[in-house]
């Protein structure tokens, strides 16, 4: 059985699955239940200075459903903890004392003034907590007060606050990044420059999930009005994966530890974050939707996969896919594939046909008896048919062997790698000649 134990910037936990700072880690009661269920660590729900904030007293979540009311994404307008600081500190102390082997990291958000940080950090350190996470991510409510995403969107502030914290505490400092920026590398670089031990990402994505067409109010609606919230859950995973990869492969931040967050729902999602450079993962929505017991599937699934793939530690997985993340212009234009439909697996729904005929390259024929076949002369291998086919592995992309002729272009498939930078159609390439 693969070793799932994790050491993230010196913070040890029996497995790499932490609960993200959010309702699941809101108080002692939840965290104890989480640890009993087997979670490796928690990032405590973000603390602030007293007087504590208040939340709305109406719905705070909106939702996007997939088939069968499966939750694809949730957005929320919840703020940071709405309980007194001391209550949280006492509970953190008690939990850490009873679960010394689990990671307890405390998320913090206080105004952008050094005395505020100097005031709160010693109190947190006194709880015995393993580290802190600076919440520069929350897109709603707090940013209007000059905290959260308002800080996370200004790299200079990130660097400044990180530096204050590093100076004021022995605990490892993790900077949590907001995805509500255009280029995630700038805040990550700022965190590194400020001396942060790691970054964690992503926080929630600014969003409106739906509009009530009867009341004309965005959801969740509070007395007929709605406010943008933060989107999370499976739907944001692609955004998060890209941002994690961008940081992992950026020369300036390469090697900076990353805690991957955003849509982790199954062990496979977690493995993907690890492969793209995350040292561990944090989970919020999946736990909110299904409860703490999902950690059992996460642990067993990751461990079984690591066994079968030959990885003996979480660290061995981290970053495995990073070298394969590249820029478009370096993709091999001599790699040529064609879609292939397995007639035995085909259930004749014709979705590939509709997709290709209406919106792609008219490369699928529909024959007598609803037989769907790829026309190699037209197929550009875009993958849309594979994506829309309801049967797994019914349509596959088959690489054309070098030396054979691509019936679409009439050209021989070249063996050598060749990309856009040298392509004759690239004006930049010609200019370089």
């Amino acid at each position: 059985m693969a070793d799932l134990s994790s050491n993230f910037v010196g913070i040890k936990s029996p497995n790499p699955f932490w609960l993200a700072s959010a309702p699941p880690t809101d108080k002692e009661y939840n965290v104890r239940r989480a640890f009993e269920a087997g979670w490796g660590g928690v990032v405590w729900k973000t603390l602030g200075l007293d007087p504590h904030i208040v939340n709305v007293n109406g719905p705070r979540y909106g939702v996007v459903y997939g088939a069968d009311r499966r939750v694809l994404g949730i957005n929320n307008i919840e703020l940071i903890t709405d309980r007194p600081l001391q209550t949280n500190l006492d509970e953190i102390t008690a939990v850490k004392r009873d679960y010394p082997d689990r990671a307890v990291v405390v998320s913090l958000m206080v105004p952008c003034e050094e005395p505020c940080w100097n005031e709160i950090l010693p109190k947190v350190e006194a709880t015995g907590a393993d580290g802190i996470e600076l919440n520069f991510g929350c897109p709603h409510g707090m940013s209007e007060r000059g905290m959260g995403a308002a800080v996370g969107q200004v790299p200079e502030y990130i660097e400044m606050v990180a530096r204050w914290c590093k100076a004021a505490t022995q605990m490892p400092v993790i900077v949590k990044l907001t995805p509500n920026i255009t280029d995630i590398r700038y805040p990550a670089r700022a965190a590194k420059a400020g001396g942060a031990d790691a970054v964690s990402l992503i926080n929630t994505v600014s969003s409106i999930t739906s509009v009530n067409l009867d009341t004309m109010s965005p959801e969740p609606s509070i007395d007929g009005k709605g406010s943008h919230g933060g989107y999370c859950g499976a739907a944001v995973k692609p955004i998060a994966l890209n941002m994690v990869a961008e940081i992992a492969r950026d020369a300036e931040t390469a090697g900076l530890p990353i805690s991957g967050i955003g849509g982790v729902t199954t062990w496979r999602d977690a493995a993907e974050f690890l492969a793209l450079g995350a040292g561990n993962v944090q989970v919020c929505t999946a736990a909110m939707v299904y409860g703490f017991e999902i950690v059992k599937e996460l642990k067993v699934g990751l461990s079984d996969w690591m066994d079968s793939a030959g990885y003996d530690s979480v660290a061995a997985v981290t970053g495995r896919a990073v070298p394969n993340v590249t820029d478009w212009q370096y993709l091999n234009l001599n790699y040529i594939a064609k879609a292939k439909i397995n007639q035995d697996a085909c259930i004749k729904c014709g979705r590939c046909y509709a997709a290709c005929e209406d919106t792609s390259h008219q490369a699928i024929s529909m024959g007598e008896g609803r037989v769907f076949e790829v026309i190699d002369e037209e197929c550009v291998a875009c993958n849309l048919c594979v994506d829309v086919c309801p049967v797994e592995d019914c349509i596959t992309m088959e690489q054309m062997a070098p030396g054979t002729v691509d019936p679409r272009t009439g050209k021989v498939v070249e063996e050598e790698y060749a990309n856009w930078t040298t392509h004759p159609n690239n004006p930049a390439a010609q200019a370089a000649e």
Binding site: I347, K348, R351, M366
Partner: protein
């Protein structure tokens, strides 16, 4: 003394009223909104969907299911009803396992089709529960058309003609409209008087009058109708029944299954209906299954269905055969009736085993007897009461194109017309298509 399942003879009240009510409850109960959404999610929205091709009325099934998913159930109902005005009844009675649901790609994928029939009912019932009739008439054309027979074919034809602005005079031999929807279909498929509810709803289109107790060949003649109206549509179904060709057919306790069923359908109190302790149903179609199952549900102790050919030749679908078996009906294949024995009243039926001799059915000489105090014949219905000058083909009114008969200005559709399966949905399709053809002919 109350009767029970073991009381000899043909008697009523074999089961307590609550048991009867449960037995004759809705076979496929209405989905609730949640179930419908879950079921609708399974539709793949296939290209040129096979289910549409398999539906005799070509309802755009993926579209209506998508409308249900997208919170547009009344729009979904309209999609259905545009193609099939009796979409509510068809949702209940269509043998979907041999039509749309058989063609569903998820039947191929998982052996579990999208529940098209039940989704259709969800949509149409939702709309009908609001009492909405979603169609309106075009400006009146002044043309008048006679529709004979107010069954599915006639109703569908009349509605479409009325939509086009024609005035329709409908005539039916029986006391109520609906045809076999009212007098034939198994009770548990159409509970709570749905057939009449649907007829009343359909008539809301306006422009249709109906006279009951008016039969062609009796009060009405085809000549007379042709003279009085701009066009005539015949949707008179199959009024006659085949004879058994076995001795003893006249004994007490021997009846046509369709009579038995029609009495059952019209009964206001199921416990007043008589049924045998030992019932034998002869035949292999939908009528035979319905008669057998309903005898059992009325409390017969033993019900046996005997079909002269093999299982594979039986016209009742696999699903219906299973339903019969599940309700406790015993099905014997490959035996034909020789004689009904008994002293005045039937006591048992003698059968002879059969074999297929190069496509021809013949007796093997080996016989057996089954006790029977009630014998129900379900060996096919026949065309009855059409005038001699109408061309007949294979025992039905010969037609070409969309229901044109050999007589100018006379159309026919449904069970009485040649071609197509004897199904409610086929009758609806044929009535609709004939109406379009009549409309074209009159507009030319």
């Amino acid at each position: 003394m109350a009767n029970d399942q073991w009381t000899p003879g043909v008697v009523s009240g074999r089961l307590p009223a609550d048991q009867l009510a449960e037995n004759f409850g809705d076979l496929h109960p209405l989905m609730d909104a949640h179930e419908a959404l879950v079921a609708a999610d399974r539709c793949y929205f296939c290209y040129d969907a096979p289910c549409v091709t398999a539906c005799p009325t070509s309802i755009d099934i993926p579209l209506f299911i998508r409308q249900i998913s997208a919170d547009g159930t009344e729009g979904a109902a309209k999609t259905i009803l545009e193609q099939n005005i009796l979409g509510g009844m068809c949702a209940r009675v269509c043998p979907t396992e041999t039509l749309c649901e058989e063609a569903c790609v998820r039947e191929a994928a998982e052996g579990k089709p999208v529940e098209i029939g039940r989704l259709q009912r969800f949509a149409t019932d939702t709309l009908m529960a609001r009492g909405v009739h979603p169609f309106s008439r075009a400006a009146t054309t002044g043309r008048r058309i006679a529709v004979v027979g107010a069954g599915p074919a006639g109703l569908s034809c009349a509605h479409r003609l009325a939509m086009h602005g024609h005035d329709v005079a409908m005539y039916d031999a029986r006391a109520k409209s609906g045809g076999l929807n009212e007098y034939g279909i198994a009770s548990y498929k159409t509970v709570d008087g749905f057939a009449q509810v649907e007829v009343d709803w359909l008539m809301k289109i306006g422009g249709i009058t109906v006279e009951h107790g008016k039969a062609l060949g009796d009060a009405l003649t085809l000549d007379g109708l042709s003279g009085e109206f701009d066009a005539v549509f015949l949707g008179i179904g199959l009024g006659g029944v085949n004879a058994l060709r076995a001795t003893g057919e006249d004994k007490e306790g021997v009846d046509d299954a369709v009579n038995f069923i029609s009495e059952l359908r019209q009964a206001s109190d199921l416990s007043s209906l008589s049924v045998g302790r030992n019932v034998v149903v002869i035949g292999g179609g939908m009528t035979a299954v319905d008669a057998a199952v309903q005898s059992k549900l009325l409390g017969a102790e033993n019900v046996t269905m005997v079909y002269r050919r093999g299982k594979d030749r039986m016209s009742a679908s696999e699903w219906e055969q299973d339903l019969a078996a599940q309700k406790g009906v015993r099905i014997i294949y490959g035996a034909m009736p020789v004689a009904v024995h008994g002293n005045g009243a039937a006591q048992d039926v003698e059968f002879e085993y059969t074999r297929d001799a190069g496509g021809k059915l013949e007796g093997t000489g080996e016989t057996f007897r089954i006790p029977a105090d009630q014998v129900l014949k379900a060996i096919g219905q026949t065309l009855d009461g059409v005038p001699d000058d109408l061309e007949i083909s294979g025992g039905k009114i010969a037609i070409s194109g969309a229901g044109r008969t050999s007589l100018e200005g006379v159309w026919a559709g449904g069970d009485c017309a040649a071609g197509g399966d004897d199904l409610t949905v086929t009758a609806v399709a044929e009535g609709r298509d004939a109406a379009e053809d009549i409309h074209q002919a009159l507009s030319a």
